[in-house]
């Protein structure tokens, strides 16, 4: 019997460097499957962030540009303006997108750039070993909030999807999660729709993916999934925020 190819052709046959229980592998695979299903491997260009997925070009088998911290939306703008018929997406974490790169992400939304952003929100800085992120929850313990995030001192977690949905140039925003199979399927549906909206040239689309960071949360892979349900979803409500009725 011929050996069945178990992974998408847009994903290279490699072992992830990501920690056990981390969501990056799941989201990478969803992107690979969507790119295969839309048959855009030859015309898609991804922009990699700074953070744990800085070298996602080691796994994505299509063209990828690694960008400076937070600047992926500006880099993507440069690519898309030169190649308007290509599909261009950024893959960014919460430090990259919600802290240092807030100006760049707001302005691609405001300009209605025909780009897609996959926003990985795990409420912590992963790569630099677990510091407070702009999305860190109140009372959450991190290496720079050792007694928990005190909102009176550190401020409040930022809800990026709600903020970007307000921009006229944004046409589609959905917040999804990867904590179980049902939600992974919903995440794939949203990511596919975001890419199709770009193909249709409608404007900016963003999918926020609530993700795990077992290493820095100091939880087991299984407990991490439950932590999303118990702590993240109550603050970052799942569902569509804009463009639910768009048919693509």
């Amino acid at each position: 019997m011929a050996k069945e190819r178990l992974h998408p052709k847009s994903i290279k046959d490699k072992v992830w460097h990501y920690c056990p229980g981390c969501s990056h592998g799941i989201v990478h695979r969803i992107i690979g499957e969507v790119i295969d299903e839309l048959d855009i491997q030859g015309s898609v260009i991804g922009i990699a962030p700074v953070g744990c997925s800085y070298n996602n070009y080691e796994y994505f088998d299509f063209d990828v540009i690694q960008a400076a911290h937070g600047r992926a939306p500006a880099v993507a703008t440069g690519v898309k303006r030169v190649l308007p018929n290509h599909i261009v997406f950024t893959y960014q974490g919460d430090g990259d997108l919600a802290a240092i790169g807030t100006a760049e992400i707001i302005h691609v939304a405001a300009r209605g750039e025909k780009l897609t952003t996959i926003f990985i929100n795990n409420a912590i800085y992963g790569m630099t070993s677990g510091q407070m992120a702009p999305t860190t929850l109140p009372q959450q313990i991190t290496t720079t909030t050792p007694t928990g995030r005190d909102t009176a001192y550190h401020g409040y977690p930022i809800r990026i999807s709600e903020m970007l949905a307000l921009q006229e140039g944004t046409v589609f925003v959905e917040r999804v999660s990867t904590h179980d199979v049902k939600h992974i399927r919903q995440a794939k549906k949203a990511i596919k729709k975001a890419f199709k909206i770009q193909q249709a040239g409608l404007g900016f689309s963003l999918v926020e993916v609530l993700s795990t960071c077992p290493t820095n949360w100091q939880l087991s892979p299984v407990d991490s999934q439950q932590w999303i349900v118990d702590n993240m979803i109550p603050y970052y409500g799942l569902g569509n925020l804009k463009g639910k009725d768009i048919k693509v």
Partner: protein
């Protein structure tokens, strides 16, 4: 011959960009170079290209990074404080080996400084600016004609070496009107870019562009490759101009706006029997050390004239290597030295050297 027209320096930079086949520009407004944006915002969309006013200089240089990765000729322009903001992107462009053209119409610093002409970004342009071991080619025009020719040339150099080429003008170059003789058609060399990330469909395998490598052996190899490239640029691309250097009593070293004043100082000095030579570096990096060093045994002294507190003087001293005395004369804050004050300084130096 093409048409000869009277044009403002900044407009000529913009026209040169188009004539060099660059149809993509990303910028952010800052005085004294905004006319470049005005010109390109009208012309590039007409030509099917991109003019995009970014949200910041940081975004603009990263749009350049993206457009260059996609294989396009691309330019941004700014002035001193804006160029500081672009340094992160400039370092990434060097690390990822992307061709790009950056125009710096230098004003006065530090900080927000002033909007009048300066040459106080010499260190930043030639010695780094951003982090890491890298170089940019830096061209210093001293006329509107040269703004045109060197801007066109900068695109070729950027593509040839896959590196950033900066045209470093100053506020007076950008704002002055002068005659410029355009060519009927530019001889543009088109470079293959098999490394570009323009979709793998056109080549059958995926490309990636990056400046990161956490393996020390591999990263050192990347750096050695960059350094080998820079040595190649030093071998091939040094440009300078020498005026009245035969039998000169003193060698003035000057570029850009200040070198223009020196041409008149040479004439005035001749009237009183002083032979002043002018050595004008056109490439500030790579710097013409050897060509300048050839004059060390022939002149009594060197004088670096700059619109700064003394920056290029350090390269003059490196070239002269202690074999002659090196003097400096500079003005700051937007002041430009008069012919008289420069001639007086030359007389003072020669009197001191004759003692």
């Amino acid at each position: 011959m093409g048409e000869k027209v009277l044009m403002k320096g900044n407009d000529v930079i913009a026209e040169a960009c188009i004539r060099a086949g660059c149809l993509h520009y990303f910028g952010y407004p800052i005085t004294p170079q905004t006319e470049i944006s005005h010109y390109l915002s009208k012309r590039l969309p007409e030509l099917g290209g991109t003019f995009l006013q970014a949200e910041s200089e940081i975004a603009a240089i990263n749009m350049v990074y993206g457009a260059s990765s996609a294989g396009a000729r691309v330019m941004t322009s700014s002035s001193s404080p804006g160029i500081s903001l672009k340094q992160e992107g400039i370092s990434y462009i060097a690390g990822a080996e992307l061709p790009a053209v950056v125009i710096n119409v230098v004003r006065c610093g530090p900080g927000l400084g002033g909007i009048l002409p300066g040459q106080c970004d010499y260190f930043q342009a030639t010695k780094g600016g951003g982090h890491g071991d890298y170089r940019n080619i830096v061209l210093a025009p001293n006329s509107v004609q040269e703004l045109y020719e060197l801007t066109v040339k900068s695109f070729d150099l950027a593509d040839k070496y896959r590196m950033l080429c900066m045209v470093m003008a100053d506020g007076s170059m950008g704002q002055m009107m002068e005659a410029v003789q355009f060519k009927d058609e530019e001889d543009i060399q088109v470079y293959d870019k098999p490394w570009a990330t323009n979709g793998m469909g056109c080549r059958g395998h995926s490309n990636f562009i990056t400046s990161v490598n956490v393996n020390p052996d591999e990263l050192e190899k990347v750096n050695l490759r960059l350094q080998a490239k820079y040595r190649e640029v030093e071998k091939n691309e040094i440009r300078y101009e020498e005026i009245n250097c035969e039998n000169a009593d003193i060698m003035v070293v000057s570029y850009g706006t200040t070198s223009r004043i020196m041409k008149n100082v040479i004439k005035e000095a001749k009237k009183i029997g002083i032979n002043v030579g002018l050595f004008r570096p056109i490439t500030l990096w790579p710097y013409p050390y050897e060509a300048l060093a050839k004059h060390t045994d022939k002149v009594k002294a060197f004088l670096s004239v700059e619109l700064s507190a003394g920056q290029m003087i350090e390269d003059v001293r490196l070239a002269v290597n202690g074999k002659s005395n090196c003097y400096f004369y500079g003005r700051m804050g937007g002041h430009i030295p008069s012919q008289k004050e420069l001639l007086d300084e030359i007389i003072r130096i020669l009197e001191k050297e004759d003692k």
